[in-house]
Amino acid sequence: MTVVTEKVSTLEPTPKTKQMRRRRDGTEKAGWLVRIAVLIIVLMWTLPTLGLLVNSFRPSVDSSSTGWWTSLLDPFSTDWTLSNYVNVLTSGGMFDALINSLIVAIPATVIPITLAAFAAFGFAWLRFRGRGLLFGVLVGLLVVPLQLSLVPLLQIYQGTGLTGSFVGIWLAHTGFGLPLAVFLLYGFISQLPQDIFESAYIDGASPYTAFTKLVLPLSIPALASFAIFQFLWVWNDFLVALVFLGTSSEVAVLPIELASIVGSRGEAYHLLTAAAFVSMVIPLIVFLALQRYFVRGLLSGSVKG
C-alpha cells in the first residue's frame, strides 16, 4: 500500500487560515517514506527517457556494449557526439519525415478546430431541428474505436485516389478528431454569457460576425487546449498514417519512419536513439511550453464527460 499511513496528532491547534494549513501540510506531513515513494515513481518515469537521450549522444561502440548510465557516471571519458543526429537527419529519411509530419499535423489541427468551433457555436446558440439528436450522436462517437472506420474508408480512398495524399490524411484526422473537438468547445462556448450576443445582435451583427468577432476571441483558451491535444495526437499517430498515407518516403511521417528504422536497423542503437529523439522533440517542446492549456483541456474533457 503506497498510501500514507502516519497519523496526525489530533491535538494540534487548528490552523487559522487555509494557506497556513497548506504550508504545514507541505512540510510537516511529508515524511521520508512519502518522499522516497514519490522519488521512486519519478525515477521510474524519467529514467527510460533519460537513457534514450544519453544513448543518442554516445558513439555506436558505446551504446551497443555498455549501459547508458556508464557514460553518466563517468562523463569525462565518454566521447560525447552529435554525429548520430547528423547521421539520421542527413542520410536517412528522418528529415523528410520531419517536414511531412509538419505538413500533416498543422492543417490536421487547424481544420478540425475550425469546423468544430463553428459547430459548437451552432449547437450552443442556434436553435434548429435535430439538434439534440445530432449532438447525442457526436458524443456517442467519442468512444468508437477508429478501427471501425478503417475498412470502408480505405475502400473509398482507394476508389478516389486519396490514399497517400496529404488532403486525404488531413480529412481523416479531421473526422477522427471532430467529436472530441466539438464536445470540448461546446462545453466552453455554451457557457459564454448570453448578454454579449444580445447586444451584438442589437447592433446589427449577424451570427457569423458574432461568431468571428466575439466567440472566437473569447474561446482562445479552449481552442488552445484542443489545438494541443489534436496536434500531439496527430503528430504521434501511427495507425491512421500507416493506413491512409503509407510508408513511401515522399509522405511518410515521423512515427512511420521511426518504426521502419526499428524494423530494418533495430540493432543500430545509436541511430535509433537519435531518430526517436528527433521524433519526440517537437511534441515535448509544445507540451512543456503549453502544459497549462493541455491540463485544462484534459480536465474539461474528462471530468465533465
Binding site: W45, P107, T114, L115, G122, T174
Partner: protein
C-alpha cells in the same frame, strides 16, 4: 430594428448575389488550383530537394489552413444573399453541417459499413455469421481476445492505482508541480517513441556480458547481491520481450507508463477539489489520514475515477502501435487490433478484419451508454 434590412433594394440584392457567386468561385478555384499544384512534383524541380520540400510544405500548410476558412467565408457570403427567411432557416446548418458531414463520412458511414461487411463478406453460400463463427473458433483469435482481456484487467487498474497513489502522495510535497511534470511527460510521447525508449529498458545481453538494458542491469545487479548473500544460487538476465508470459506484461508496463500521467493529473485535480471542510472536520473528529483517504477522498472523487478508468480502458482496447512495433504480434502478444490490421493488409480479408472491429465496438458499447447517460443528466443536448 430590421427596417434597414427590409428596405434592401433589388440593386443591393443583386450586388450581394454577385458577390456571393464571385467569392465562391474564387475560393473553389483557388483551392482546386492549389491542390493540383501540390500533387505535381515537377513544378518545384529547379529547387534543391530540401528547399522544394520546404516550399511544398508551406504551400500545403497555407492551403489546408486558409482553405477551410475560405470555404466558411464563401458559405456565409452565399447565405447572406438569400432572402431573410431562408437565410435564418439555413444559418444553423451552415455552422453545424460541415462538421456533421465530415463525422458522418468518417465515422458514421464507415461504422455501419464495417458492421454490414462483417456479415456480408462471407464465402458463397455461408450464413451471415460465418465470420463470427470463424473468429470464435480460431485459436489465434481466442488468444488475441485473451490478451485483450489481460490488458483490460491490468492496464487501466494499474494506471489508476499508481496515478491515484502518486496524486495523493505528491499533494504533500513541496516540489509538487515539478514531480508531476516528470510523470506527466510521457503523455507527449508517441507509442512508437515509447516502444523505442523501452527497447533500451528491456534490452538483453547474454549472461556474463555487461547488460545494456536498464531493467536487466537492475535485475542482474540485485540478483548478484542476493547470490552473494547465499539467498539465490544464480541469476540470469531475462529477455523481457521474448519470454512468453512475461512479454505481454512487459508491454502492458509500457502502456501504464504512458497513461499514469493522465490518471494522475485528473485525479490530482479531483482530490484538490474535495472540500477542505470535510477532511478538516474528519481530522478534528480523530480520523486517521488513511481513514480520511478511503472514507472521504475516494468516495468524493468517484466520478473522476470512473472517467479515468473508462478512458484508459478504451485506449487499452484499441492498443495497436505498441505491439505492432515491438513484437509485431509474435510470441503470443497479438491483440484484436493487431489481428485486424494483419487481416486487412496481409491477407486482404476484409470480412475477418471488420469482424475484429465489430468485436472492439461491442466492447466499448457499455462505456458509450455511460457517457450518453451522464450527458443527459447534465442536460446537454436534450
Amino acid at each position: 430594428m430590421n427596417r434597414a434590412v427590409q428596405a434592401t433594394t433589388s440593386n443591393e440584392r443583386w450586388a450581394s448575389i454577385t458577390r456571393a457567386v464571385v467569392v465562391s468561385v474564387i475560393t473553389v478555384a483557388a483551392l482546386w488550383l492549389g491542390l493540383q499544384f501540390l500533387s505535381q512534383d515537377t513544378v518545384l524541380e529547379g529547387l534543391p530537394p530540401n528547399a522544394s520540400k520546404l516550399v511544398q510544405a508551406l504551400i500545403a500548410i497555407v492551403l489546408g489552413v486558409a482553405g477551410i476558412w475560405a470555404l466558411f467565408y464563401a458559405g456565409n457570403t452565399m447565405l447572406e444573399s438569400f432572402p431573410a427567411k431562408v437565410r435564418d432557416a439555413l444559418r444553423p446548418y451552415l455552422f453545424v453541417l460541415p462538421a456533421v458531414a465530415v463525422v458522418g463520412l468518417y465515422l458514421i458511414y464507415p461504422t455501419v459499413g464495417t458492421i454490414v461487411t462483417s456479415v456480408t463478406d462471407v464465402p458463397e453460400g455461408e450464413s451471415f455469421f460465418y465470420n463470427y463463427a470463424d473468429a470464435f473458433t480460431d485459436p489465434e483469435v481466442l488468444l488475441n481476445l485473451r490478451n485483450n482481456t489481460i490488458w483490460l484487467l491490468i492496464a487501466p487498474a494499474a494506471s489508476v492505482f499508481i496515478g491515484l497513489g502518486f496524486a495523493a502522495l505528491v499533494d504533500r510535497i513541496r516540489l509538487e508541480s515539478l514531480a508531476k511534470s516528470f510523470v506527466f511527460m510521457p503523455l507527449a510521447i508517441s507509442f512508437v517513441g515509447a516502444a523505442v525508449i523501452w527497447q533500451f529498458v528491456y534490452a538483453w545481453k547474454p549472461p556474463g556480458q555487461p547488460q545494456i538494458g536498464t531493467l536487466n542491469a537492475f535485475w542482474v545487479g540485485a540478483g548478484e547481491i542476493l547470490v552473494g548473500m547465499g539467498i539465490l544460487t544464480e541469476i540470469e538476465p531475462i529477455p523481457w520481450l521474448q519470454v512468453i508470459p512475461v512479454n505481454t506484461l512487459a508491454l502492458i508496463a509500457i502502456m501504464v507508463w504512458l497513461q499514469v500521467g493522465f490518471a494522475m493529473v485528473v485525479l490530482s485535480a479531483a482530490i484538490k477539489g474535495v472540500p477542505t471542510e470535510m477532511t478538516e472536520a474528519a481530522r478534528i473528529d480523530g480520523a486517521s489520514e488513511r481513514q480520511i483517504f478511503f472514507k472521504i477522498t475516494i468516495p468524493s472523487i468517484r466520478g473522476a475515477l470512473l472517467v479515468v478508468y473508462t478512458t484508459i480502458a478504451i485506449a487499452v482496447l484499441k492498443v495497436f502501435d505498441l505491439i505492432y512495433v515491438t513484437t509485431g504480434g509474435n510470441l503470443d502478444t497479438s491483440v484484436v487490433a493487431v489481428r485486424m490490421y494483419q487481416e486487412m493488409f496481409r491477407f486482404r480479408n476484409f470480412g475477418a478484419a471488420t469482424t475484429m472491429a465489430v468485436i472492439l465496438l461491442v466492447a466499448v458499447i457499455p462505456i458509450m451508454i455511460i457517457n450518453i447517460r451522464s450527458l443527459r443528466r447534465q442536460g446537454i443536448g436534450a
